[in-house]
């Protein structure tokens, strides 16, 4: 899952980078609002975390510009301005959530999960259950309901599972999977995806991910049910 972080404070951005990576997000980080403005439209991000007090361009004007341009990804505002009038202004400008600093990291992750879920029409809960497979985002484990045993996933495996489960009806081309799994500086080796998918099949059964030859991958669900 690709995340765009726009934050000018380096120590905070370092911590957030580590936090997001731990939770299976591929993070692109920009400190300047002008860079972020173009990147958000160019790259296929799944969620944006935006600081309002940015050098270059204020966050609110970025937000308005993106929404006017029809950018339809969830955006969470992260700001030191905590008053309700500022919160209302932020949300009216098109943000999906507003988290004032300082915040508890767990709360930020929960809010991000809820945002992504809401965007995919799912109930906001810490677990994602699709077609007989349950994915727990907090423990990064997956479980086939027919077996009832939770299996730990690596960060990359978890990220792939989450993306596929958010789009259960779609066939996802390998390129698109790569786009959403790795940040723009990461070495994109398509073979790595295949390796991770093989691992997932070993852990959860062959049918968990279906390969559509020449097209991509599709979430298979719990084939025994």
């Amino acid at each position: 899952m690709r995340l765009l972080l726009v934050e000018d404070n380096v120590p905070l951005a370092d911590e957030l980078n580590a936090l997001f990576s731990r939770n299976g997000y591929a993070v692109d980080w920009y400190t300047d609002g002008r860079d972020a403005a173009t990147m958000a439209v160019k790259e296929p991000y799944d969620v944006i975390v935006l600081d309002l007090g940015l050098p270059g361009r204020p966050g609110l004007s970025l937000l308005e510009e993106w929404r006017e341009a029809g950018l339809d990804i969830p955006i969470l505002i992260l700001t030191a301005r905590s008053s309700w009038s500022e919160r209302i202004t932020g949300l009216r400008a098109g943000a999906d959530d507003y988290l004032p600093k300082p915040f508890h990291p767990d709360e930020l992750i929960l809010r991000l999960q809820a945002l992504v879920r809401r965007r995919h029409g799912q109930r906001p809960s810490p677990t994602l259950a699709v077609a007989g497979v349950t994915l727990d985002e907090n423990s990064q484990t997956a479980m086939r309901d027919s077996e009832g045993k939770a299996v730990s996933l690596t960060r990359a495996e978890f990220a792939i599972m989450r993306y596929l489960m958010h789009h259960p009806e779609h066939v996802i081309p390998k390129d698109r999977l790569l786009d959403h799994l790795y940040d723009s500086e990461h070495d994109r080796n398509p073979n790595v995806v295949e390796v991770h998918i093989n691992h997932l099949r070993q852990k959860l059964g062959r049918s968990i991910i279906v390969t559509q030859r020449g097209q991509g991958y599709r979430f298979g669900g719990d084939s025994t049910t």
Partner: protein
Amino acid sequence: MMSLTRRLDMGLLLASLVVMLLLAQGSVLLFDYATRDYLGERLQEDAESLIANPQLENSPQRLDPDTLRASFNRVYSGHYFLIQIDDLPPIRSRSLWDFQIKPHSQGLSHGLEPGPEDQKLLVWTGQYHRGTHEIQVTTALDYTPVTYRLFWLRWSIWGLGGAMAGLLVLIQRRVIRLGLKPLDRLQQELAQLHEGERMALETPMPAEISPVVTELNHQLGRIEQVLNRSRDGIANLGHALKTPLAVMEALLSREELNQHPDIKKGLQHRLDDIHRLVERELQRARLDTSEVSPAARFRPEHDLPPLLDTLREIHGPRIRFLCLGDKPASLPWDRDELLEVLGNLLDNAGKWAASQARLTLHAEEHAMRLQVDDDGPGIAIEHRGDVLNRGTRLDEQVSGHGLGLGIVEQIVGHHGGTLTLGESNLGGLSATITLPWPTPKLAG
């Protein structure tokens, strides 16, 4: 209190009365002197015409009354004479009757001599030689009619002078009032200044006062500058502190620290303390400098829907947010402050509610009452005081940093209002804000 007008009135009154007194006294003296001089000459003429009377040559013992002026013959008429020829018995005018008039050395008497019937006499004496005779003639005139007129004249001048002094005071008072009129406007402006409606004095002032006003404006400007600088300083510091606080929160949540739960907990509490202090000072800085301009007022019809939309977005479809009661067009409080109060209360209600949170507005005679109800578990009566006094939250599981009620109390207290907690008829907690209407002067 010392009154400038009264002081000037007293000064002018005293000065003009003294001037009038001197004027009256002086003019009476001059008039008296001139009159005596003139009457002295008349007396001398009388004496010379008596000497010229040929009867004196023939029978120096008496003068035929018929040849004299009638006033010399009428008793105590006020015109008298006495003629002494050598050592012979003096010849007296008939008008003297039995009164003895004393001759005097030469010329006009210095003062007035007593005369018959309380008359005051102006006496003139002259020495003449006629042949071998030594003749001394004394003529006298009753001066009381003149004294009486002078007395009347003096009082007239005094009266006129007094009236003029009074008139002068009235004119001066009017001039002062006109002159001080800018001060009234100055006072009004200062009152507006006190209410925070303006930051400078603008009425043009007379040259005598304008340096004071200029200096006052200068000082006001300086104070505003210092105020702004310190408010901005607090705001910048407060907002700048929040990012490092967020970094520390993130550091605290690292797995390495899970092995030292005591340290982690202690640090977490201190971070919460710092956060609370920062929020409180930020809010205080906002309250100290907020101005209720008509544009910044809270308009329920306009401002409540976005707030409720925001809350619905935050809490999702599980909680219904309702708004009931009176909705005046505009309330005389700052929009941001009321949004902060209602946002925090409704957000709390939303966190605890099972299915609905409700805001009710009551416009009452003396105060605006804003009531927020929820159908959550409520707070036991013995814990309500703790919640209010410390602004802390009882249940650490509900997200948020427990600052909401503290800020609500701060804002409500600033406007002289109260926050009370009670039991709601929905079953949960009911938080009621009572804000007394500002005085008409402020509202208008």
